[in-house]
Symmetry: C2
DNA sequence: CGCATCCTTATTGTATACAAAAGCGGTAAG
DNA sequence: CTTACCGCTTTTGTATACAATAAGGATGCG
């Protein structure tokens, strides 16, 4: 898409995610335009998209505010993600190609290497984890499903989740990926669905626990 | 929202729904601006919203076209809608307030009146049907779910579906709504889920049949 | 005759100026 | 002391002009 409105979108989004624009903060188009070094026109464009993504809310009188994501909101997102990605896994089980299965195995091996490091290589874990899930979505062959998941799976949340993973969670995550591949090989959609649902819900509980124990640092 | 961009949105939307802008037609901002009697700015605003509503698609080079859905796309959307709205019904069953239940009953009575007309009053049917589903979504209390469903439930498809409903389908639809209210009163999430899933899938098959038998008129 | 490339034209993206509307504060009346 | 109203300031909405980019067609080369 267009350069200026894209930059504005990415920049405002990252400002929200990094906390520069805290939840509840009112958003003034002109101020953002100055920050991003563009005029209000592309900023307004970006705000529209961010509003559609639920990063921004508008009052009844057209004022924009940074959305406030409570832990409940995040659980909500995880529940939806579990449902959608479980559905994707079921579809994928009967559609995935042998070539895709090979790719999934390759990524799992890379994840294994990342986990087996003396200090777990989280960036690599995340990278291959993302590719793994992307391949599953491709195998599910439902553009709408991919599109919706893209909106729900906020990488910052994924990042925070993984950052708080202990080794046990990392290994469990890997094993779930491996099991999912087995289910694909067996063309067992129900099994794939169950594994993926459990995979996402375990991730939520890891996030939730880390978030609770990490409250003090946020409050400080 | 703002007057000009609202008028533009409503007008363009109705042009798409009425077929003045047929599927696949390229959209030129300036031409629409002239038609709506406003400048390009609010038209662009409206196009963004219509794009989010999937009334409009954009090519990789930023050209806008009236969306054209294949039957496979539509089935895909219906499957997702059944899943999401089924989930919403389950959540709603344990959260819906008595006040909301009263509203649901009111809309069902209005739907009944619309259906009982000598010639079914489809606009009224659609209007109260939409309100009914909106209340269910509100009762489900998941903003993300509402948001995603808003993207998936393509109003042109809903409209066409209802336009092709025969009286039998209209009555079945009403009965399903009534059953759903019963399930809510019983706080039976599983029942609500099942009814809603069946409701959506019946709608798909009605659409599918109407679409097939209606091909000739579209081709003409 | 086919195909690549450049040039023209059509269309979209961005900036700026101005208009409309909402918030805010002060003042005066009850 | 409260409240309603008025006008000033801030913020958003719209129009217009201009810049950038993509489509379509002509021209020249193989």
């Amino acid at each position: 898409m267009s350069r200026a409105s894209d930059r504005a979108y990415a920049q405002i989004r990252s400002m929200i995610l990094s906390g520069v624009l805290p939840p509840g903060e009112q958003i003034r188009e002109e101020a953002l335009a100055e920050t991003c070094g563009v005029s209000r026109t592309p900023v307004r464009d970006a705000l529209r998209r961010l509003e559609a993504d639920l990063f921004i809310r508008r009052s009844d009188t057209q004022r924009s505010f940074v959305a406030d994501w409570s832990i409940d909101d995040i659980e909500d997102a995880f529940v939806l993600r579990a449902m959608l990605e479980g559905h994707a896994a079921r579809r994928a089980a009967t559609r995935v190609t042998w070539d895709q299965i090979e790719h999934l195995k390759t990524h799992n091996k890379a994840i294994q290497r990342a986990v087996e490091q003396p200090v777990a290589d989280v960036p690599n874990f995340l990278d291959h984890n993302r590719h793994f899930h992307t391949i599953v979505m491709e195998a599910a062959a439902s553009p709408r499903l991919s599109n919706m998941l893209g909106q729900i799976v906020e990488q910052p949340v994924v990042l925070r989740t993984a950052l708080h993973y202990d080794r046990d969670n990392l290994i469990r995550s890997l094993h779930e990926h491996e099991e999912l591949v087995f289910a694909f090989v067996q063309r067992d959609g129900d099994w794939a669905h169950a594994i993926m649902t459990a995979h996402i819900r375990r991730a939520f509980h890891a996030y939730s626990q880390a978030h609770q124990s990490g409250r003090s640092e946020l409050a400080a």
